[in-house]
């Protein structure tokens, strides 16, 4: 039998064709699975292969003042980033661009660590690269495959240190913050607000980063960086409009005695808006851009002048004489006194209480004065007796109700809580149940003793006094803070008007007479906070016009000796604000008023404990 018989061969050919078509069919099925059923997955993988996302930082929102003047803006800046396939090639690239950028080799381990965390993303090598270096790099792009130049907006504070404490500053997000995920949508290099409005309104200012794509080859070298794939444009941060009047702020800064420390708060009593928040000395927030120089930072931190502290809200001073209005308001509201009531003892330069003699600031005494004149001349003896009439318990309770031992709740971070004893329990704890006498009431009644207030808290109280309703929203720079109690002075409008007239008399004919401004009815109160560490601090809290106040100014100048030396500055600020720029040019008025601070009480029998003395912090 022929073993190549056509019949047999035909059968084998059939088997062979079957095997061939089945084999090719199986292969086709495999391709069908990959190209039709899983096409989406592989297309995604292919895109991920070739595309690298480069973030486009969102420009941070502007901060403008109440008139639209730009306080914080953005400048174009450049950052140099690298895409590398492996850490080895990253190091090779780094050593290549090191001389061009003048990189510090000490930063290499840090860059490598960041690369290891996100190997597929461009790793930023240097921020804030000057334009010349960027163009030099662009020319040598061939030598540096994987080079990505990112434009990163830089923060700039147009007015430098002028409104530094209100604005705050920004710095780059730290690795810890990135790891903890506290900042939404953050990536390395994101700017985060560190203080002031920048911090409080960080979420609104930050915006949303966009993304663009570059095409890379298998070795991670950038092949194309234009029109590769549709990216996502960044959404710029919102513009924050503050209530600050930068022109007024500048005037305040110029008016404030040069070289002195202190704070000035300018507040609209009708809305609670802050027109000026001035603290001296200040710092330049621009120094924080692109990472602050460690030396500069140490200097700012260590300086005995504490320039980083915002004295309007982070420093508290004994309120001294301006506090008398708090006591007067409480007494009037309680019905303990009326405006023209006299006290049992006329002022003869002091008051004897138990074994101590409490002096008035005026050695010769004010005689028999009513409340109106006691405010006008800042008579300590009158207020000693008024305090005693109210009683310690009532004073503590009512002052607490007015918020005098609270923070204002301003929309800025790290506000300090003002201190006023919450109850007599405080004295028991501090001095022991028998360690103190009701004599502390006398000190508290004239703004001395265990009482320190931030300038803003004092401004808030005077705003309540100045307001036509007795209710003022918490002082703020941008938004009325939510969840913060709105303070209220439960005093009839007539009584508040009486107090305003008494304060008007202070400036018109009282302790601050020298700072009068013609045809401007300014009401205010001077004060001298005794300072055991040195010269006294001078207070002046004022508002104007006295009949229908539009502005409240609280100012403190450290070591100014007397409040009356502060008063002219404040009246000039008020005049500048109410009358405009041209009215502000008067020169400095002479200071003629005497010191209105009560000297410490003297023991009648020497050796007797003094009770609670004046404390300043």
């Amino acid at each position: 039998m022929n073993w190549f018989h056509p019949h047999l061969v035909a059968r084998r050919a059939g088997v062979a064709r079957l095997v061939i078509w089945a084999g090719l069919g199986l292969v086709l099925v495999a391709f069908f699975r990959a190209q039709v059923l899983s096409a989406g997955r592989y297309q995604l993988a292919s895109e991920q292969n070739r595309l690298r996302a480069v973030p486009i930082p969102a420009p941070r929102g502007l901060i403008v003042d109440r008139n639209g003047e730009v306080l914080a803006e953005n400048e174009p800046g450049y950052a140099v980033a690298l895409i590398a396939a492996t850490e080895d090639s990253l190091v090779a690239l780094l050593t290549r661009i090191q001389p061009m950028l003048g990189l510090d080799p000490a930063s290499f381990p840090d860059i490598r660590a960041r690369y290891r965390r996100r190997p597929s993303e461009p790793v930023v090598v240097q921020h804030d690269v000057p334009f010349e270096a960027v163009s030099a790099l662009e020319e040598r792009r061939v030598l540096v495959p994987g080079l990505v130049i990112q434009t990163t907006p830089k923060r700039r504070y147009s007015f430098g240190s002028l409104a530094a404490h209100a604005l705050g500053y920004v710095s780059e997000i730290t690795e810890e913050e990135l790891a903890s995920g506290t900042v939404a949508g953050a990536r390395p290099g994101t700017l985060v607000g560190r203080d002031g409005i920048e911090r409080t309104y960080d979420d609104r200012l930050r915006g949303r980063d966009g993304v663009r794509f570059v095409e890379v080859d298998a070795l991670g070298r950038t092949v194309r960086d234009q029109d590769v794939a549709p990216g996502l444009p960044p959404a710029p941060g919102a513009t924050i409009r503050t209530s600050i009047d930068i022109a007024l702020q500048r005037f305040v800064a110029e008016t404030f005695p040069a070289g002195r420390r202190g704070a000035v708060v300018v507040l609209d009593p009708r809305t609670g808006e802050l027109l000026t928040l001035f603290s001296a000395p200040a710092y330049d927030p621009n120094a924080f851009i692109g990472g602050i120089d460690p030396d500069v930072w140490q200097e700012l931190r260590r300086s005995t002048e504490h320039p980083l502290i915002n004295r309007t809200i982070q420093a508290a001073y004994p309120p001294a004489s301006p506090w008398k209005l708090v006591v007067a308001a409480i007494a009037l509201e309680r019905g303990a006194v009326r405006l023209h009531d006299h006290m049992p003892s006329p002022c003869r330069g002091g008051l004897q209480y138990y074994s101590r003699y409490f002096r008035c600031w005026s050695v010769e005494g004010h005689g028999d004065v009513d409340l109106f004149d006691a405010i006008r001349f800042s008579c300590d003896v009158y207020f000693y007796q008024l305090g005693l009439r109210l009683g310690l318990e009532t004073l503590l309770q009512e002052a607490g109700a007015l918020g005098m031992h609270q923070a204002v709740g301003i929309d800025l971070p790290n506000e300090r809580t003002s201190f006023f004893p919450p109850s007599t329990e405080y004295y028991n704890r501090r001095y022991g149940p028998r360690g103190w006498t009701p004599a502390v009431t006398l000190n508290l009644a004239i703004g001395q003793g265990e009482n320190v207030q931030t300038p803003l808290n004092m401004a808030y109280f005077y705003a309540l006094l100045a307001s036509s309703t007795g209710r003022v929203p918490p002082p703020h720079l941008v938004d009325v803070p939510s969840g913060v109690p709105v303070r209220e002075l439960r005093l009839t409008e007539a009584l508040r008007a009486d107090l305003r007239m008494a304060l008007l008399a202070v400036v018109e004919s009282g302790t601050a007479v020298a700072s009068r401004v013609a045809d401007l009815h300014i009401a205010g109160k001077t004060g001298t906070a005794q300072n055991p560490q040195g010269a006294d601090h001078g207070w002046f809290v004022a508002f104007a016009p006295a009949e229908a106040p539009e502005v409240v100014v609280a100012a403190i100048v450290e070591f100014a000796e007397h409040g009356s030396s502060v008063a002219p500055m404040v009246t000039r600020i008020i005049a500048r604000h109410l009358r405009g720029v041209e009215a502000s040019d008067w020169g400095v008025p002479r200071l003629l008023v005497p010191d209105d601070s009560a000297p410490g009480s003297v023991p009648i029998i020497p050796g007797n404990p003094t009770g609670a003395g004046t404390r300043t912090r």
Binding site: G23, L24, A34, Q35, V36, Y42, R50, D217, A218
Partner: protein, 414 residues
């Protein structure tokens, strides 16, 4: 009848021409990258090879099969000598940098003899089998055939070029099958290799030995042969581990990453993953001629040689894959028909041997790109860049065309 034979010749000519045209186009595209690669101008050189190949094919197609049969032993011996020379003075290059598969004189690489030897082995085996009175019926009778292939297998395997070596095995089985060797005998012949494969787990190997024992008792070959088969299988199972350890690390890695490409996506699995991504992302219609991003950005490895079919998949999509596989199927099917129609056993066996070579290359290469087969560096006929293999293919086509012609002239028919 004459028309039909001529038609078959025309189909072979047309399909291979179409595949060659497509191959050159894809090779051109493989050189179009955004990143400079070695594949830049290979298509021009491939065109030169093709010109030489076409001349060779024409010459071979003018050559009598009897002359070819007469020349066969000389060609076979020459092939073996070249392989020996390669082992002694060979160099590695290109995709087979680690293997001594290139014959070079004075630093100039001339070619890869292993490709031409495939054809020589087909001819020699056909000559041997055609010279027999009937198909081999015992293992003993298979020994000469086994030797003809085995020597070439060992010499190529020593380079080491396992992929090409395995082609010899598949050709051996294809031609024995075509010669009418009983399937059981083929199974016994293949059993040691199967035993090696099943040895990855004791259970599967145990089942395999049990089944083999049962088949041996049922088929009742000579006792000595049965015993030999059985003992070889047991021996293979025991040696499997040692053999595995003797594989070069890159060969082990190829098998491992075939089983699980994600084991080491950067190194060993890279080829398979990137090739699958290229093919899969091609989708139904592909990314367009020269537009494949995987290829353009050099993610695709060896895009001009071993993985050229990934470019087909990426740029022409499933449609292109379907068309090219259809062309390959038509070509191979027609060649089977030519082999069937040829009444002279030598011609018939030669054609079927060529079918075996092509089929193995096509299926292994294409299936490898989509992760169905482990990676072996064997080229895809008509597509992969490579002079030796293209010339081999052209000569083979020349023989096929000649046999198709002869069948028509002889006036044979069924």
């Amino acid at each position: 009848m004459l028309a039909r034979e001529r038609a078959e010749g025309m189909v072979v000519l047309a399909t291979s021409a179409a595949l060659l045209a497509m191959g050159i186009a894809v090779l051109y595209s493989a050189g179009q990258t955004d990143v400079p690669t070695a594949a830049g101008h290979l298509w021009e050189r491939q065109l030169t090879f093709l010109g030489v190949g076409a001349v060779l094919a024409f010459l071979v197609s003018r050559m009598s099969l009897r002359l070819l049969e007469w020349l066969t032993p000389a060609a076979y011996v020459l092939g073996l000598v070249l392989l020996l020379l390669t082992l002694i003075v060979g160099t590695g290059a290109g995709t087979a940098a680690g293997a001594r598969s290139w014959l070079a004189i004075g630093g100039t690489r001339i070619g890869q003899p292993s490709e031409l030897v495939k054809l020589a082995v087909v001819l020699m085996l056909a000559r041997h089998l055609a010279g027999r009175r009937g198909p081999p019926t015992t293992l003993w009778q298979l020994v000469p055939a086994g030797l003809i292939v085995g020597v070439a297998f060992v010499l190529v395997g020593l380079q080491p070029d396992l992929g090409s070596a395995l082609v010899f095995i598949s050709v051996l089985f294809a031609m024995l099958f075509w010669a009418g060797v009983s399937p059981w005998l083929l199974l016994f012949l293949a059993s040691p290799l199967l035993s090696l494969l099943f040895a990855f787990s004791t259970l599967s190997w145990g089942i395999w030995i049990a089944v083999l024992t049962a088949v041996l008792f049922w088929q009742r070959p000579y006792v000595l042969e049965g015993l030999t088969v059985w003992l070889t299988n047991v021996g293979m199972g025991i040696m499997a581990l040692t053999l595995w350890n003797r594989l070069a690390p890159y060969q082990q890695n190829r098998v491992l990453s075939f089983l699980n490409p994600e084991v080491d996506p950067r190194a060993t699995g890279w080829h398979i993953i990137q090739s699958k991504v290229a093919i899969g992302s091609g989708g139904l219609l592909g990314k367009g001629f020269t537009q494949g991003t995987q290829k353009r950005l050099a993610f695709l490895p060896e895009q001009a040689t071993d993985f050229i079919y990934s470019v087909v998949g990426e740029e022409f999509g499933f449609l292109g894959v379907f068309l090219s596989l259809l062309l390959f199927g038509l070509l191979l099917g027609t060649m089977v028909n030519i082999a069937r129609r040829s009444r002279d056993p030598f011609s018939s066996l030669v054609i079927f041997g060529i079918v075996g070579v092509f089929f193995t290359h096509v299926v292994e290469n294409i299936a490898m790109t989509v992760g169905m087969m482990p990676i072996t560096g064997i080229p895809l006929p008509f597509f992969s860049y490579g002079g030796s293999f293209l010339l081999t293919c052209c000569i083979a086509l020349g023989i096929v065309l000649r046999v198709a012609q002869d069948a028509g002239r002889a006036g044979y028919g069924d």
